[in-house]
């Protein structure tokens, strides 16, 4: 495209404003985390006058952050791994077989993504509560209940993205494996999964992010012992004083793993995400 002379200026102003808008909250988060409590309770200042790492030590004591962290880690890891395993099988079927119901399955799974969470929340809460009484499977306020729920939240996009990755792997590869004497599942395990590994890792990260950041279901389906970070972080605000420096330190610490994972794999993730929505 031919660029007019004013375009570099427009680019500087436009992208500069967007960059500033994006950056300011991140800057506030990072700098407030290293301020002493007095400095975050008084007037705001752009540049910290006193720098301290104390909030990063205190934040574990004000609320049981380590406990929430472990809960989030267990729930998000289990949910994302399980979701990707289930998604690989489903995506393999959709990518490699033409069977009646294939289209209906794809559309139904994707459309569940679009329904309001609040619609499932009340019945699911009831179902989990009643299952506990009925068959002794205690799902309400348990990590298992949360894992199963989160699993299905990332499942539609995981299947969708993996179908895209699997479609790009030549079928000649699995045919060759089948000629070598392995069945379709053997071909999936030995040929297709290794070839799709970057996509699978990206989808796992996506599923992990989904579970790590979920708030609505975490707020009603957990109790004190199973509470995740999404709800636990608000514990700082219910005390008499809000320890804003600790809140910011904790936000920073819980964000870094997922943001780093996302940015490291952004190429694969962005391709998968956009291919899904652009189609």
């Amino acid at each position: 495209m031919r660029e007019p002379r004013w375009l570099p200026w427009a680019r500087w102003i436009g992208l500069g404003s967007l960059g500033l808008f994006t950056l300011v909250p991140l800057y506030v988060m990072a700098t407030s985390a290293i301020k002493p409590l007095g400095d975050v309770q008084g007037d705001f200042s752009w540049i910290p006058t006193t720098v301290t790492l104390q909030p990063f030590f205190d934040m574990w004591r004000t609320v049981p952050l380590a406990h929430y962290f472990v809960n989030s880690l267990i729930v998000a890891s289990a949910a994302s791994v399980a979701s990707v395993v289930v998604a690989i099988f489903a995506a393999y079927a959709i990518s490699r077989y033409r069977f009646p119901g294939r289209k209906i399955f794809s559309i139904t799974v994707l459309s569940t993504q679009m329904f309001p969470g609040i619609l499932f929340l009340l019945p699911l809460f009831m179902i989990f509560a009643n299952l506990g009484d009925l068959i002794g499977l205690e799902l309400s306020a348990s990590r298992t209940g949360l894992i199963i729920t989160y699993l299905t939240f990332s499942l539609p996009f995981a299947i969708w993205m993996l179908v895209g990755y699997l479609d790009s792997i030549p079928t000649a590869l699995d045919e060759a494996a089948q000629v070598d004497g392995s069945g379709p599942l053997g071909a999936l395990l030995r040929v297709v999964i290794p070839a799709a590994m970057p996509g699978i890792v990206a989808v796992t990260i996506y599923a992990f992010m989904t579970s790590w950041g979920e708030v609505l279901f975490a707020s009603v389906m957990t109790d004190e012992s199973t509470r995740t970070l999404a709800v636990g972080l608000q514990g700082y605000a219910t005390q008499n004083d809000v320890y804003w420096n600790q809140v910011m330190a904790a936000s920073l610490v819980v964000s870094v793993p997922v943001v780093a994972g996302f940015l490291l794999l952004q190429r694969y993730l962005v391709q998968g995400l956009t291919a899904g929505a652009v189609k």
């Binding site: 909250p25 705001f44 619609l119 179902i127 004497g181 053997g186 070839a195 950041g213």
Partner: protein, 339 residues
């Protein structure tokens, strides 16, 4: 409607020799099990077997609860029946009647929340789309710092919702927040420090926070779509003497239309159902001016423990979303086939 033609990562990896080697006996257990089933049945049944776990999970968490939710909306399901809901007496249409009776407090509250949500959704989609389009269009071409900016723009999208929103709620604090510091102390735009998280301003606070989190998604989608516009279109029009604006209007924006159709729909459904932003920004009681529908239903369900009424409101919400989606799809596809 397929726009994405970029090679996916697997394609390059696929060309490499797969990690196969000689077949190892231990890995073949699964195949040995399936070998017991007759070949023809196996061929036919295998895809269904593969999607079975996904179907069961979707049934358990989405489809069954949806049916149960619709059933619940016809019951008088108050706190006494939560753990024994089969004993709850039927309510007929009473839950629906009270939800749409705009003379009652419940109906008025729902209508108000609905109005707020519609206004919020329209503004939020408009702003997120505008910022996303501007960002994506200006990112075209090559210039220094492009990769870095792109990465920066992705951070709000990757950040866990609660961490992002809690940071905004700190910035919107009346006495110690950054927003009032800039507006009152540095720019002197107001004499008195305004409240941002209660009263009328809370709508603005909610909107800014939400747009900050959402525009990168629009940006991502539009960037991907822009890269798929064939460059010879631009070259041909440049030969015809078309300038930058002319190209933007007659090539870029029309070519983005299919993506925009999906993008606006997805943004609509996400924004209308948004719960995270108001819940983390305001805590459990959202101010009336920022009472989005999801949080309204949530509060009226878990404060009064009247799940029957909450389910009726959820079903009404679902019907509304389905209606808008259907009308939207019909309208946008008709316009496209006319063009």
């Amino acid at each position: 409607m397929v726009v994405s033609t970029t090679p996916r990562p697997g394609a390059r990896r696929g060309a490499r020799s797969p990690g196969g080697g000689p077949p190892r006996p231990g890995r073949r257990g699964l195949d040995r099990v399936t070998a017991l089933i007759p070949v023809r049945l196996r061929r036919l049944g295998l895809p269904y077997l593969l999607i079975l776990p996904a179907i069961l999970l979707e049934l358990l968490i989405h489809l069954v609860p949806m049916v149960v939710g619709i059933a619940m909306s016809f019951l008088k399901l108050t706190q006494f029946f939560i753990r024994n809901w089969s004993a709850a007496p039927g309510a007929g249409l009473a839950n629906y009647e009270i939800a749409v009776d705009f003379d009652s407090a419940v109906g008025r509250g729902l209508l108000h929340s609905f109005t707020v949500t519609v206004a919020f959704t329209l503004l939020a989609i408009g702003l997120a789309w505008l910022l996303g389009t501007a960002g994506a269009v200006l990112m075209q071409g090559s210039f220094r710092g492009r990769g870095l900016l792109r990465t920066l723009f992705l951070v709000p999208y990757a950040l866990p919702a609660y961490a992002a929103v809690i940071t905004w709620s700190f910035m919107f604090q009346r006495d110690s927040g950054m927003v009032n510091h800039v507006l009152v102390d540095q720019l002197g735009l107001a004499d008195d420090r305004p409240f941002w998280l209660i009263g009328g301003n809370s709508f603005v606070a909610l909107l800014v926070t939400y747009v900050w989190r959402t525009w990168p998604f629009a940006f991502l989608m539009l960037m991907a779509a822009l890269q798929n516009i064939p460059s010879d279109l631009y070259e041909a029009s440049a030969i015809d003497g078309a300038g930058w604006w002319k190209q933007l209007r007659s090539i870029t924006l029309p070519m983005l239309r299919p993506v925009n159709q999906v993008l606006v729909l997805v943004l609509f459904l996400w924004t209308f159902n948004d719960f995270n932003t108001p819940y983390v920004l305001f805590g459990k009681s959202a101010p009336e001016e920022a009472d989005l529908i999801s949080i309204h239903i949530y509060q009226s369900s878990f404060v009064t423990w009247n799940f029957g009424s909450g389910s009726a409101m959820s079903v009404l919400l679902l019907l509304f979303l389905l209606l808008v989606t259907a009308v939207y799809l019909v309208a946008t596809s008709r316009r496209r086939s006319d063009a």
